[in-house]
């Protein structure tokens, strides 16, 4: 029977402005180095950045999760380490070190064997035809710390819970027996399996940092200043303003019906060219594709961002643009405590 999930006192949340993501993976590395360097989780990325349109990480994650397009439960799939996550590659380090420069014999660093998949495998590929309509954008992803988490509802041992004080979704690894129903059920495929410790492992929203009023590493390290962190209900904070007031930040795949608490400002794009190289007025990233990702609210979100940008271009004030530009990125984060960091 479905578990009753108590509403937390408040919900910590994140907004990412996809118009500013550089695809630099600084967030990915910041997270990985902080939380995921153990064997058993070497393949996993609590935060990753994928190129869209593309296959994503794990491969085709949006097709193998435990929810239908109507939000109903369906049996998901546990991704395979080789074909869907991508096993960490081995390299010929010894051969490179043994290179004999004097004899001219040189061995270049390369993977052993011929890799055919890995995280970020299709980086910058995108789709379309140059120069008419080629396009891609970057999509950073982490656990959505859902209001109704599919992972939580999948665990027969109730090893997964939402923290009362901030709604962060956590795995109690002392209770977990490694059944991986959570991995199967999460439609975002953001619960991983530590194959050495044989327990589930997932993003903890940098919980110890949140407790100190410091933003998660992925947000704090972002050179593009595209991440906003705060409490969902805080009307003075950036999350409420972007999600509820301006309605430009929307969840990924809202049709799963889980109440994701990570939101995205969808990407605007330059216009397509016709065969003569003239602009057609149509956005390069098809709005229908964005609707597949973000649902029908994407139209209004894009219209608002475009209108506010135009206002700013005319020299008029725009609260929305001021927030998104992030002149002082301390303003991107509104957590407990007045932790201001050096700009």
């Amino acid at each position: 029977m479905k578990y009753a999930i108590e509403k937390p006192a408040r919900q910590v949340a994140m907004v990412m402005d996809l118009n500013k993501c550089l695809g630099c993976q600084t967030c990915t590395v910041a997270c990985k180095k902080m939380w995921n360097t153990d064997g058993g989780t070497d393949y996993s990325y609590w935060n990753n950045v994928e190129t869209l349109p593309g296959k994503g990480f794990p491969k085709q994650w949006d097709e193998i999760g435990g929810r239908t397009d109507q939000g109903a439960v369906k049996r998901g799939k546990i991704p395979n380490l080789d074909s869907e996550y991508g096993r960490a590659w081995s390299f010929n380090h010894k051969a490179v070190i043994a290179t004999d420069a004097a004899s001219g014999k040189k061995e270049w660093l390369k993977p052993k064997g011929k890799p055919d998949w890995g995280p970020n495998w299709d980086e910058d590929e995108g789709t379309g035809t140059y120069p008419e309509d080629n396009h891609y954008f970057y999509m950073p992803r982490l656990c959505n710390h859902c209001t109704e988490p599919a992972c939580l509802d999948a665990c027969p041992r109730q090893s997964i819970y939402k923290r009362e004080q901030d709604g962060i979704v956590l795995v109690d690894q002392d209770k977990c027996h490694g059944y991986r129903f959570c991995v199967e059920a999460c439609p975002y495929k953001k619960v991983y399996y530590d194959y050495q410790r044989q327990v589930a492992a997932k993003c903890i929203f940098c919980m110890p940092r949140i407790e100190e009023g410091v933003a998660p590493a992925c947000a704090r390290q972002c050179p593009g200043r595209l991440r906003f962190v705060g409490y969902r209900e805080d009307q003075e904070g950036p999350i409420w303003k972007l999600v509820d007031k301006w309605k430009v930040a929307i969840p990924l795949h809202p049709e799963y019906g889980l109440g994701a608490n990570v939101f995205y400002v969808p990407p605007m794009s330059p216009e397509k060219f016709d065969s003569q190289g003239n602009g057609t007025g149509e956005p390069r990233i098809p709005t229908a594709y964005l609707e597949q990702l973000f649902g029908p609210d994407v139209h209004k979100a894009l219209a608002t961002v475009n209108a506010e940008r135009d206002k700013r271009k005319r020299g008029e004030p725009s609260e929305l643009m001021d927030i998104l530009v992030a002149y002082d990125w301390n303003e991107n984060f509104k957590l407990d405590g007045a932790v201001r960091e050096v700009i």
Partner: protein, 182 residues
């Protein structure tokens, strides 16, 4: 005493949470339909319990993989006479079990008072198991000394998990009730 037991699929509809009952509602057939049970008690050596079952595709290692599950077998006993078998006991009516997994040598000892409540610990000294797989058949011999609850009630419940069928947790083949071995 050797017995051939028909096994049933543990009812997924009873599983805690909303996902498993719905996602696995089609799992109505036991992945292992029968098991042969031989249980003997020798006063000095405790219980010797042998299970044999067909398993065409054994899974004895899940190392360095994300999507494999090991074959496993458990012997469950009631701690109080009326502990329900299908729910692995209930509050104040505990059950105990010995769990063997094909990917580890030592047994686990389990305690539960209902579905989702199971605690898993290293088995006590004196509990061991030897397994052999040949020609599509597992032969597993538990040596269990002592086991007061089994001595007292003489009842066993059997559960088998087939790794190749992604059996784990409540996805298992179980005896259709307590089996008398006294």
């Amino acid at each position: 005493m050797k017995q051939t037991l028909q096994l049933i699929a543990a009812p997924t509809v009873m599983q805690p949470g909303g996902y498993v009952p719905e996602a696995y509602k089609d799992r109505t057939q036991a992945s292992t339909p029968t098991v042969e049970l031989t249980a003997e008690k020798a006063a000095a050596r405790g219980w010797r319990i042998e299970l044999q079952w067909a398993c065409p595709q054994p899974v004895s290692s899940i190392a360095n993989e994300t999507d494999l599950f090991p074959d496993a077998a458990a012997l469950m006993v009631p701690v109080v006479a009326d502990a329900p078998w299908i729910t692995m006991g209930q509050e104040d009516k505990p059950v105990e079990a010995a769990l063997w997994r094909a990917d580890r040598e030592a047994l686990y000892q389990l305690q539960a008072e209902g579905l989702g409540t199971m605690h898993r610990n290293d088995a006590p000294a004196g509990w061991s198991a030897q397994s052999q797989w040949a020609d599509g058949v597992y032969r597993l011999v538990f040596q269990l000394k002592p086991w007061a609850a089994l001595d007292q009630h003489g009842l066993l419940g059997i559960a088998l998990w087939r790794g190749a069928e992604s059996d784990r947790g409540g996805l298992k083949s179980v005896s259709s009730g307590w089996v008398s071995v006294s």
